[in-house]
Amino acid sequence: MAAVLESLLREEVSVAAAVRWIARSAQSSEEDAGEAAALRSLQPLRKEFVPFLLNFLREQSSRVVPQGPPTPAKAPGSSAALPGRPGGPPRGGRGARSQLFPPTEPLSAAAEAPSARRGGRRRGAGPARERGGRGPGSLEEGVGAESLLWAGSRRPRAAGSPGSPSRARCDPPNLSNLEEFPPVGSVPPGGAGTRPSRRINPTPVSEERSLSKPKTCFTSPPISCVPGAQPSVLDSSPWGQGPAAGCRSLQEEREMLRKERSKQLQQSPAPACPTPEPGSTLPTRTGSLTAEPADPAKVSSRQRLELVALVYSACIAENLVPNLFLELFFVLQLLTARRMVAAKDSDLEPSPGVLDSLESPLFQSVHDCVFFAVQVLEHQFQAMMGQLSAACSHSHFVRLFQKQLLQMCQSPGGAGGTILGEAPDVLNMLGADKLGRLRRLQERLAAPQSSCGPCPPPSFPGCQGFFRDFILSASSFQFNQHLMDSLSLKIRELNSLVLPHPEPSDEDGESDVDWQGERRQFAVVLLSLRLLAKFLGFVAFLPYRGPEPPPTRELQDSILALRSQVPPVLDVRALLQQGLRAHRAVLTVPWLVEFLSLADHIVPMLDYYRSIFTLLLHLHRSLVLSKDGEGEMCFLNKLLLLAVLGWLFQIPTVPEDLFFVEEGQVDVFEVDTKTSEHGLDGVPVVDQHLLYTCCPYIGELRKLLASWVSGSSGRSGGFVRKITPTTTTSLGALPLRTTQGLQAQLAQAFFHNQPPSLRRTVEFVAERIGSNCVKHIKATLVADLVRQAESLLQEQLVTQRQEGGDPGQLLEILCSQLCPHGAQALTQGREFCQKKSPGAVQALLPEETPAAVLSSAENIAVGLATEKACTWLSANITALIRREVKAAVSRMLRAQGPEPAVREDRRGCSRACEHHAPLPSHLISEIKDVLSVAVGPRDPEEGVSPEHLEQLVGQLGQTLRCRQVKTWQHALLVCPCMWLITRATLAQGCYSKDGANIQGLLAFSPQFLCPPAEQHLAKCSVELASLLVADQIPVLGPPTQHRLERGQARRLLHMLLSLWKDDFQVPVPLQLLLRPRNVGLLADTRPREWDLLLFLLRELVEKGLMGQKEIEACLDSLHEAQWPEDFAEELATLFNLFLAEPQVPEPQLRACELVQPNRGTVLAQS
């Protein structure tokens, strides 16, 4: 096989001929005789050529850092079929490349062996931490060979055991599974932009992986990483596929960093073209510390690569490869390669002698890989798009595209963050402050000089350019359609994503303090949406884009007429309206702007889009920055919207007259910038960093000012880039301007020579104490204010009920009274941090820490904790108090229900109460039984004893009086404000004054008697009274005495009256007594006795339970019911009697009621 390739490389055989030879068994006539002869001899090997080529490429590229999983090599049978290694068992479960290394080339392997051995051993012994410090790329790079060897030597029963089919041989990568796509660039933190696939993929447990985890390597000493047997194993490893890391000294790392910087400096700010060197833009944007930009000038053997690429492309074009996507995957891997495994260029410097031979490695550097990939892509892309005929292929590819787009274009904060974050051991030496400076410096160096003034046209910076050009050069209708579908779907999905923000009722301070997580997530979602929308806009309006608006009016009109019939690719208007309604404009508008920014000239004239612009315009007008009140959008949120909208209105495609149009047709949708509690708009999700990321042009202002300050204008494009050179050593020499700055620098210097753990401890303590401080303030100061609010509210409610007011106003009044007290929070916070931090630092540092060091560490911890706490408190305390008061007020209003008066006299148990009262459910059940016996039907022997009745009413009293003091203890535990009150009242000894408040609060603590049960008890007690009055309760006892004695009945009624008056805390439905049904109970008795009813009515008036007028009204309405004639007459008499008897003092009533003969009885008998 190698011979074929070699003859190709030596140009003995043309590519076309080779491909023809591979593709067809029969020779075609046009073939050159020489070629035919050369190839004929190889005829038996023909069918094995393609597998060989594929394996060769995989093998060759294995030394290049692959991104993600290795592309499975071709053809299960191929290696087995290779001469010299018949049916050889696979050597490992994972590394398909190494497994399929062609053993038919013992010569080349042998020739390479010494250098490989050399390199391998040295690398193996090199500092392991380098391997670990490199991020995802380095994690994968070792897997191919190194870990396989480890697995072989250490774990003989691991995946590579003979007979177990290797994963690579059985499973081509699942293209529908996005997880298997190579990760380019680090995944943005938070990961919200890339939602994991819903499909659950069984994760194979891999020993290799765990062994090659960077962390283990990083923390353990280098030697321990390498098993003793390894060097010898490595020796047998062909091509020097030893452990990944090269031995680089720090000096070398620095050297690279310097190179990197200078490269970035040189890089042109304009978006780079993708071909012929798309790689030049890719790795720099996304790469890690060691990412090497591909450079066509550094391609080692251009000719050879071109040839192989040609053959490879031809194979792909002729569909000679089994899996198109696999090859695409592979090519993309090469394209996104970051660096070589073999570190030294000098090691592999190709000598001219071996240039044409297969003996020298094909891919010697990233440059080679990228060059090869680009060559192949040039040959194939359009061709491949043509082949992607099946719709599902398109959709798969589109998903890959989208995923790749998001990952590559979103490495957060440019390259800086990742670079510096991942090489801590080098850069930690500089100290955090220096690190920050270095980062800023790097950002400034890497940043383009200017982003074309304060209002640049839409552009595709960085690797976005690659994707744009990809779309342009693919120019595949199907692809674009699928891309639009996919982007639309993703946009919808992200746009409706529920972003967590702290609930108003959230008790936990954590979410307040550690807001950054939510902000970060929002930022990730927002940036993803903008990116996706931009590309959607690009693709959607691509067919219509032109440099100029249509020349003539007629043409324009006809285009308009046509275009207005085309449905929009994504119903952005609905999404916008939805966003505005849901108060999520801060999320929806920025991406919509990106989408619209790529519209063509016609779009703003279409009715559909015009209405969107109008809506946006109206929104723009309504976002007045100076308005800052309750329910307003947060300042930075507004600013972001204003910035992006302003930018949109200035884009050339948006006609100028649009902005200055009369606002006549705003009726489309009323824009409401008032935010609701649950909308995102009211949550401070936008920070300055996000604002600058979304609107880099805002930075122009700063540049302008800077250039004015530096006094230089006009030079070098107008703006000057000022970089003050600083070095580590010059730290002391810098002028120290303020005491504070000096202190900060002293603190930095203090940590410089202390063990890192000291710094970590101090920072940890500060972080936790700061957070706890906020929680403490919430539980003390804020809770105290809430309590004040509650008592103020009680007073206000009483007044308001008389005057009739609005609870909303009440809240405002309360807040205005209480919020100023929030200022105390800072003092208290400072005290808290001062008190708590030193102890924690002391506990966490070693006993032996010198006193001076300890006290400095304590002081720094106090300072940092205070800073953290006070920063948060000063920004949020007012809002917090407001929120808590609001929650408390609504809780109280809810608990009080429509009749707040009822709750006012809530009482607890008396001191004597032993809490042995029967349970309410038991009482309801018992009373229900009495009622059912009384109402019937009943068995002859059924009845109620008078004692039982009295006992029941007595128990009812007990139950009503036993009001929850038992759970005080717990109430105090769970409700700090209760604890505060108790503490305060106990301290001041002012039970009488604040006692009522405690009782009031007690009403909200749980108790056995819940309001519904109490209401039912009240109702049942009234029914019982009705039965007593009508003498309807069958009494147990001797057959002669089936009725309750009058005295007993009266005693029971007295008891009930007393319960109604004193013990029930819910309204008692006494008017039931005078409903026709209840009064009608009297109609059945013979002789009718009205005295008890009269007695009851009088007592009700007497005790103030019912008003005279109320009773009169009830009696009056009784006349309306249909009664037997005699009953109606008696009722009328009773009414008159009740009216005639004026509201009299006790003695007269007593006389009326108790003196024989009873008037009621007389009345009934007369």
Binding site: E503, S505, D506, E507, D508, L919, P920, S921, I924, S925, K928, D929, L931, S932, V933, V935, G936, P937, D939, K966, T967, Q969, H970, L973, V974, P1006, Q1007, F1008, C1010, P1012, A1013, H1016, K1019, C1020, P1069, L1072, R1075, P1076, R1077, N1078, G1080, D1084, A1121, Q1122
Partner: protein
């Protein structure tokens, strides 16, 4: 009161086609004197509810409603004071309160132009004295006070029992010094599905670690337990880990088969509790 499946079946067998009146309950208590009243009532109530669920539909056909209404009218026409509605319900083997609802609804349909809303019906059932027809008001009231499985009073009792047992459990937890978060606190924190109590520090009950406790003031029969497992307990388990369910009125012994999987059943507050010992490092 933990019953074996056989014991439970024996009780359930006695409840077939028994009207839900206090007389039936009395007989049941006499038949099973060793069982607690609350347990018997709970079993009775659950069995009766199952029965009603099975037969509910046939009482709500328009033919059935018409025939019931006609029989009611005939009955009260003869004697308004007789327990017409109650006897009708018992005769057709339907809950008196539900029969009252059917008749009331039918009555209002006849006397009002618009069909009555559900809330109107409910409010009239809660306070029958507002029913415009005096006879019907009495009949409805009689049905409600005589029904021990359905109706507003029974609903209130059930609700109160549930509430009281939660308070009871809370007090027991406090007594044992076990700190917890209750349902309200958890809801305030944003949890949607929460047990009655989550222990802030897990405990071991009879050797099983538990994180939460759910109070059920009912008897745990197969039907209800499986429904609870599906709707509640496994969800709690998913969110918070293993936990304890207290069926205050007992349960079928055989149902306590998920102990190893993380759902422990008890009929009372556990006594065998092991708590985490702070500071007591193992020797």
């Amino acid at each position: 009161m933990i019953l074996t499946k056989a014991q439970y079946d024996e009780i359930a067998q006695c409840l077939v086609s028994v009207p839900p009146t206090r007389q039936s309950l009395r007989k049941l208590k006499q038949r099973f004197p060793s069982q607690s009243q609350a347990t018997l009532l709970s079993i009775f109530s659950q069995e009766y509810q199952k029965h009603i669920k099975r037969t509910h539909a046939k009482h709500h056909t328009s033919e059935a409603i018409e025939s019931y209404y006609q029989r009611y009218l005939d009955g009260v026409g003869k004697n308004g004071a007789a327990p017409v509605l109650l006897e009708l319900a018992n005769e057709v083997d339907y809950a008196p309160s539900l029969m009252a609802r059917i008749i009331l609804e039918r009555f209002l349909q006849e006397h009002k132009e618009t069909p009555p809303s559900k809330s109107v019906i409910n409010s009239l059932l809660r306070d029958p004295s507002q029913i415009p027809d005096g006879v019907l008001a009495n009949q409805v009231y009689q049905c409600i006070v005589n029904d021990c499985c359905y109706g507003p009073l029974v609903d209130c009792i059930k609700h109160a029992i549930g509430h009281e047992h939660e308070i009871l459990l809370r007090d027991l937890l406090l007594e044992k010094n076990l700190s917890f978060l209750d349902e309200d606190q958890l809801r305030a924190k944003g949890y949607d599905k929460t047990p009655d109590f989550i222990l802030q520090v897990p405990i071991a009950v009879e050797g099983h670690i538990i994180h939460w406790i759910e109070s059920k003031a009912s008897f745990g029969d197969e039907c209800s337990h499986h429904a609870y497992l599906h709707d509640q307990f496994w969800s709690y388990w998913n969110r918070f880990g293993p936990g304890l369910v207290i069926y205050w009125y007992g349960f079928i012994q055989e149902l306590d088969c998920n102990r190893e999987r993380g759902i422990l059943l008890k009929a009372c507050f556990p006594t065998d509790i092991v708590t985490l010992c702070h500071g007591a490092a193992a020797p």
